[in-house]
Symmetry: C2
Subunit: 250 residues, 2 copies
Amino acid sequence: MNEQDFLAAYDPSAYPSIAVTVDVVALTIREGELHLLLIRRGQPPYEGHWALPGGFVRPDEDLAAGARRELAEETGLGGERLRRVHLEQLASYGAVDRDPRMRVVSVAHLAFAPDLPDPAAGTDADEAIWLPVTALTSRQLAFDHGRIIDDGLERARSKLEYTPLATRFLDGEFTISELRAVYETVWGHPLHAGNFHRKVLSVPGFVESTGASTERGGARGGPRAKLYRAGDARLLHPALLRPAREETVR
Amino acid sequence: MNEQDFLAAYDPSAYPSIAVTVDVVALTIREGELHLLLIRRGQPPYEGHWALPGGFVRPDEDLAAGARRELAEETGLGGERLRRVHLEQLASYGAVDRDPRMRVVSVAHLAFAPDLPDPAAGTDADEAIWLPVTALTSRQLAFDHGRIIDDGLERARSKLEYTPLATRFLDGEFTISELRAVYETVWGHPLHAGNFHRKVLSVPGFVESTGASTERGGARGGPRAKLYRAGDARLLHPALLRPAREETVR
DNA sequence: CTAGGTTGTTCTCACATTGAGTTGTTCTCG
DNA sequence: CGAGAACAACTCAATGTGAGAACAACCTAG
């Protein structure tokens, strides 16, 4: 902040004209695959490409509120179900030429949701849909949204390591195996069931037992599993680290 | 993005008027204490309070460039010394009432620098200075800058755990003890010298030996220390974890 | 010059955590 | 009913960590 601020208070045209938008990388797990909420653009630029849900920040809402509103508009979600979706700020993207029409700075957010219904044909004409992240190539994506999605996925993978947010992909009660499936889906490779079980139960506040068990065993056999709910920890100590990824280190 | 975008392309007044600024949480270590670059505001609002260096994003620069420019303006730094400063995006702050004059979204950045000269009486009239972070109360800070600084400090502490960025607080060649002093300063408590030494040398790519040693021993005795430079790792595997902080977990 | 204290570096040892595999049991499906 | 699957608990070796000790190199004070 410098003296330009002060001038701007009296001359609203003294600051550069930049639009502020929010975009949302909304993730959920469907049928064992990580899915992403995308919208097919019905008009240029990038007509026919996939884009993140998002839009202009309104004068009377802060950034998180704008992101949650955009998410609500596209998913048709509201009330308690919307409130249970985890939403956090991801990063801001402000390359000069990222939108060919004008200078736009977008504050991207990251959302974790349990399996949600398909977006009802929404408030606007564009088509919204949950797409498996594996089915995407950056060529099909509008603007710099491929980059934003990559950043969001890496953040999601990383957040599972040291926070209990994996539980946000599940409903209120879940089994350890379901929780493990979340990790395996987001990280993209299988985990040792026994070690995962031991680890989850040993981290204080990660999950707490409900005392109940599932009504039936697994679809292909096995005993009834004990049910858990999310605990009160906000950070996992010690963390559940991803298996080493030497490649990405340098 | 929705149809409002499209309209905006033809009607520049169709999007809400929000100013975009960058602010910089610039950290350095002086005399064993973590210091922060701050500017004393010479005019209202918050006249006489401390504020982060920052200002409007210009139409022809992206967010990181704006942050680096603001840092350069306030520190008088340029060229190679400026380029060696680590700069990363921290987060964006967009509460509706964070600036009483107008709606402003600020994209905060975080910078790590080796000990730099005192800011030369700069390009603008406000006083810029390196202040020990321990000497600050949020009451003395303008806008929501107290919150931004807190977030920046927590990010800095966390980054030392899993990246080699501690080396960015030091000059090109340093001893293990100097590196340990960075960790102790940023984390705010002493570390076991032997274990730290073992750990740093065992993490691949963290530091590499220069083959040389210091010319003299420490000021109060001790042998000459071997010199190292930063290695090529971008992430530390395994990480150097802070001693447990149970309190902050829940 | 020397004694005493400080520092850099390397070891040792007890303990915790991790990866990998095994066992026993319960359950579903065909 | 038998085969296979999955949950849950266990074992064991390998690795990593915290705490402390050892020792030599070096400074300053006297």
